[in-house]
């Protein structure tokens, strides 16, 4: 089933607010990674995905794997906003005794298809799901959200080769390409460029979008399958920390937690944008 499209801009704003509140309350890292992909999640869960929170295991659903599991706060926020579990539960994130772990976990959390946290796992599992759905004649699309730094992992490229070889045209890799990884810029760590050409050379259909432009995201993510017989990668050019000016495009906020005045300023800025 597909619900009426939500206001994805408002949804993205709420995901960002949740992510800042959750990571600050729990003292966890990776807030900038969650902010970076908030628009991607909002467009997926607010508009594109065929999912039913009342039947999280509905066989014909679209599947989403957050391979960049460190941005779990954003994923949990999107699922709660979409109605998979109560928003109230988000307050337990990263707290003692909670099942909402910093890196996304499926146990007891409806809507999470795969637990992740170690990078380079999601695309292979997504490929397996896509292969099964294809064999079973399901309309399901399988999306997996990757970070750019994650593409350092060799296992990603194993899966990239596999998916094109097996013509998994309902498999979509969505790269949150914010150009910053854990300790430094991607370009200074292991350069990915020419990134789009690499995917093309591996047999994928490549779409490049502004990862904060909802019209572009909706067209790219909703238009799958685009090219019969080819998997699609949507390279989303994003800004790490998007939405909180002092977090944007900084390496620092990969790990830093907003506290005190920083927290208040972040919330004020996000609430201003949400109005």
């Amino acid at each position: 089933m597909t619900a009426a499209p939500m206001d994805t801009r408002a949804l993205a704003a709420r995901i960002r607010l949740h992510a800042v509140r959750m990571t600050s309350a729990g003292g966890s890292s990776h807030v900038a990674s969650a902010l970076s992909m908030a628009d991607i999640l909002a467009v997926l869960y607010g508009h594109v995905l065929r999912v039913d929170p009342a039947q999280p295991r509905w066989p014909d659903r679209d599947r989403v794997i957050l391979s960049k599991g460190h941005a779990g706060a954003g994923m949990y926020a999107a699922l709660a906003e979409r109605g998979f579990f109560p928003l109230e539960k988000l307050k337990t994130h990263y707290q003692d005794g909670s099942d909402l772990s910093g890196h996304v976990s499926h146990k007891g959390i409806p809507g999470v298809e795969l637990s992740t946290g170690s990078l380079g796992h999601g695309l292979s599992v997504a490929a397996g799901m896509a292969l099964a759905c294809k064999a079973d004649g399901r309309p399901s699309r399988v999306y997996t959200i990757l970070s750019d730094g994650e593409c350092d992992e060799g296992s990603i490229w194993e899966a990239v080769m596999f998916a094109s070889h097996h013509k998994l045209d309902r498999l979509v890799a969505v790269v949150d390409y914010n150009k910053i990884q854990s300790l430094d810029l991607v370009a200074n760590t292991l350069a990915l460029e020419p990134f789009a050409d690499k995917w093309r050379a591996f047999g994928w259909h490549v779409i490049e979008v502004d990862g904060h432009d909802h019209a572009q995201l909706t067209a790219a993510l909703g238009g799958v399958p685009v090219h019969a017989g080819k998997p699609t990668v949507v390279l989303c050019h994003t800004t790490k920390g998007k939405g909180v000016s002092f977090m944007e495009n900084t390496v620092l906020w990969h790990y830093r937690t907003a506290r005190g005045a920083e927290f208040d300023a972040a919330i004020a800025e996000l609430e201003g944008a949400a109005r």
Partner: protein, 317 residues
Amino acid sequence: MRDVFVQRLQAIAEQDARVTLITGDLGFGVLDKFAKALPAQYLNAGVAEQNMTGLATGLALEGRVVFTYSIANFPTLRCLEQIRNDACYHNAAVKVVAIGGGFSYGALGISHHATEDIAILRALPDITVLVPGCDWEAEQATAALVAAPGTAYLRLDKSSAGNTGRPGETFTIGAWRRVREGDVLTVIASGGILGVALQAADLLAQEGIALRVVSAHTIKPLDTASIGEAARDTGGILTLEEHTLDGGLGSAVAEACLDYGWQPKRFGRLGLVAGFSSIVGSQEYLRSRYGLDTPAVVQGVRDLLAGRRVRAGVAAS
């Protein structure tokens, strides 16, 4: 063991469309019949074990029962984290199959010596670890793994104790089998080296020393009841494995004895003393070199019965 595994799996797969076999580009000539008969249930994932295990998980989460197949340490250690995080944590029906356990590929060098796999795999949560000792067990284990939910590791080796199954006998995961009755001492063996234990038992029987020989075909869950019976009812326990002594069968048995407060009258472990074997050779040769052949087991039994410590193999060189 390899051939009976593939044959049995094919027979099951012909009746059960969920059963899928994925190879990591190994199994020359061995998987052809399966591939030809069941193309929709067979896949060569290429030389990419991490992806193979991840995609096996994806298929399993969609209802398949997936066997990943490769040799030695490739389907296990190379992709250990995919087994742990993807398969085990999701209770996915991924059955990891390694052929070439122990020194099966002894002449190929240390990359192909699977001598720590059991210790490493048994440390994972939510996994079943099976190490059949003979063809009958390998065949039965294959069927049992299709029926059992969740993730498993099936370690097959080139050697086999032949066919120890008795007419009408049933195989149960976690229930060890007594393949010789006796009470002087219990030898607990896992893997094809069970055949060595049986040969030693035959030799000692000629002297009136009746060994109980137990096939520990399941390392996890551990058959603690069988260990308790051996500790209480026989003259002691000697474990035998083609695997490092650090964390394998012998360790598991020792742990159980201490955990449950059982004190075997005598206790010893035969296995590999930690180290790489830069020396190569046939499985039989390397067993002899490292104190895992029939004379070594006979000597081990004699040592224990004489109250001496068992010389636990020879350090690898």
